[in-house]
């Protein structure tokens, strides 16, 4: 029994002792864990703070300086480095104990870059803490440059700055006595390295985006230049065609028969079409390249309407439509005379083109108050199908019912009108009923002219 009891008592004591031991061990672990937690939270706080400082830096150079100094101070270092190694070029920024007292940052030039052996210790996701550079096997025979030797760096921490292409640099911390860096130190420096890596990557992305935008802008400019050059180049052959055509019709080449004259007239009409198309392309090119300058002058609407009327009269006569023009004499527009003339001519041209023989085209202008003048061009023409009206201001758009020979055109007129009007800060509205006619209203800045008192 005793034989049994003893072991039992022994066992009990053993169990109790074990329990006690476990319990006290746990207490001990709790204390350690609390210390560990405090250190971890302090490290996190340090990381967070330094990241904030780096983010607040206006440029990368400042961010490197700040990172080196912050790491140096926070980790009680004698030396802290940020070094970039890219395409053979090495750049470093460094902080040295004592900098804060002198108020002068150490210039990077005062330090030699760390030798390759130091970088060979790290990988994209692997930091290296070297307790003693003098005994570390990988650093034996390495030229631990003046930066390290003169400051007698003994304990070293190297954390990689990585990009998608691998290690592009490192944040390095050094102590001149053997005080190895612990894992919290590693955490802080790794987070700083990560912040710097992200800043570098952001800058690279920004630079890429800037380059893309620049390339697109250059492409756009060259496209506009191309349109302008082509339009100019087209004018030279057109000069011979239109010139000889006129000379033939004038009889400079001998008598012209009736049949020949008919054919020459068709050539003439199409030459004119080409010419108008070239002018429209040039205008579009100018609008696109931003070269369409809008000079703001007071333009009397009566003068504008009279000029447009004179220009459109031959087309009006040929189409057999009636043109009525009326303006309140004292209305003045603020804008570019030539461009406003073009707006009116394009609108009248469309109206005449799409109005059958015997129809009526009306152009009018009136002051609508509060600094606005409205130009309205109304026709009794074929109208525009309702479902196509939304696309009318799109370049090269032609309504499906614009099929008559007289209605030939490229579909640039309204797009030009719309661009010019918006450049003037105005707006274009259009109402149309198929088979009945169209009303286009252009609202532009303007005013009623104050009449000069008679003497």
């Amino acid at each position: 029994m005793t034989e049994w009891l003893l072991p039992a008592g022994y066992l009990l004591a053993l169990v109790a002792g074990t329990l006690l031991g476990v319990w006290s061990g746990r207490r001990h672990a709790d204390v350690r864990l609390t210390g560990e937690q405090a250190a971890e939270s302090a490290a996190k706080e340090t990381s967070r703070r330094i990241s904030g400082v780096i983010r607040a830096c206006p440029d990368l150079g400042d961010a490197f300086d700040a990172a080196a100094a912050e790491v140096g101070r926070a980790l009680g270092c004698d030396l802290a480095y940020v070094q970039l190694v890219r395409r053979g070029e090495r750049r470093a920024t460094a902080w040295r104990r004592g900098d804060d007292e002198t108020g002068r940052p150490s210039t990077a030039a005062a330090f030699l870059p760390l030798p390759d052996e130091v970088f060979s210790l790290v990988g994209p996701e692997r930091s290296a803490a070297v307790d003693d550079v003098r005994t570390h096997p990988a650093l034996q025979g390495a030229d631990m440059s003046a930066a390290v030797t003169s400051l007698e760096i003994v304990s070293l921490l190297v954390c990689p700055i990585a990009s998608s292409s691998g290690v592009i640099g490192a944040v390095v911390a050094g102590r001149s006595s053997r005080q190895p860096f612990g894992h919290h130190d590693v955490g802080v420096v790794e987070s700083v390295a990560w912040s710097l890596g992200r800043a570098l990557q952001n800058r690279a992305i920004q630079a890429q985006q800037d380059a893309v935008v620049e390339r697109l802008e250059a492409l756009d400019r060259s496209k506009s230049d191309f349109v302008a050059s082509v339009s100019h180049e087209l004018r030279t052959p057109l000069t011979s065609i239109a010139g000889y055509l006129e000379m033939l019709l004038d009889g400079d080449g001998g008598p012209v028969t009736g049949g020949q004259r008919e054919m020459l007239d068709i050539i003439g009409r199409n030459t004119q079409r080409l010419q108008l198309l070239i002018e429209d392309l040039l205008t579009i090119g100018k609008i696109e390249s931003g070269a369409l300058r809008t000079d703001v002058d007071d333009v009397r609407v009566a003068t504008l309407l009279a000029a447009a009327e004179a220009a459109i009269t031959p087309a009006v006569a040929a189409a057999g439509v009636a043109l009525r023009v009326h303006a309140e004499d004292d209305v003045v527009l603020s804008g570019d005379r030539r461009q406003l003339e073009q707006v009116l001519l394009n609108l009248l041209g469309n109206a005449v083109k799409f109005t059958p023989h015997g129809g009526t085209v009306t152009a009018s202008a009136h002051h609508v108050g509060e600094g606005w003048v409205e130009l309205t061009v109304t026709d009794s023409g074929i109208g525009i199908p309702r479902n196509e009206q939304g696309q009318l201001f799109t370049r090269f758009f032609r309504a499906s019912n614009a099929t008559e020979r007289a209605a030939q055109g490229a579909g640039l007129g309204l797009s030009i009108v719309s661009s010019i009007v918006s450049a003037h800060g105005g707006e274009v509205t259009l109402e149309s009923t198929e088979g009945e006619g169209t009303v286009v209203s252009v609202r532009l800045p303007g005013h009623a002219l104050v009449p000069v008192a008679a003497p």
């Binding site: 030279t236 052959p237 000069t239 010139g243 006129e246 004038d250």
Partner: protein, 133 residues
């Protein structure tokens, strides 16, 4: 200025235009309208002819290889022998600022391509009249 071409019954027009078809067309039209024409295809020849042939009027294309119409116009204006010579520019560039550049270079008239040959003759006659006055 007195008549630059004493004893000459037909006016002499110097034409510089590098496009052969446009050059021939203008020459044909002017000859048909009782004018004599010296036609050249580049700026250097134009400047030489302007100084040696004593034309009554010079018709210059703006865009020419070697020397532009604007440069020739400028040269003519800065030379005592030719500073009164009527100069007309022909160009494919029709922007207001291009036209202003032409007048700034000392041109008397400015014609934009494509133009009416009939209109060109009228303007040349006007230019010749202006000098005689």
């Amino acid at each position: 200025m007195s008549d630059a071409s004493p004893g000459r019954t037909r006016p002499l027009v110097l034409l510089a235009e590098d496009d052969p078809d446009v050059r021939d067309m203008i020459e044909r039209k002017l000859r048909g309208d009782d004018m004599d024409v010296i036609a050249v295809s580049d700026g250097v020849a134009a400047l030489h002819a302007a100084k040696t042939m004593r034309p009554d009027l010079v018709l210059l294309d703006v865009m020419m290889p070697g020397m532009t119409g604007l440069q020739i116009c400028h040269e003519l204006r800065s030379n005592v022998a030719t500073d009164n010579l009527p100069v007309m520019l022909i160009t494919a560039r029709a922007r207001a600022e291009d036209i202003q550049t032409g007048y700034d270079a000392g041109a008397d008239d400015y014609i934009v391509k494509p133009f009416s040959p009939r209109d060109l003759v009228t303007r040349i006659r006007d230019g010749l009249m202006a000098v005689r006055r």
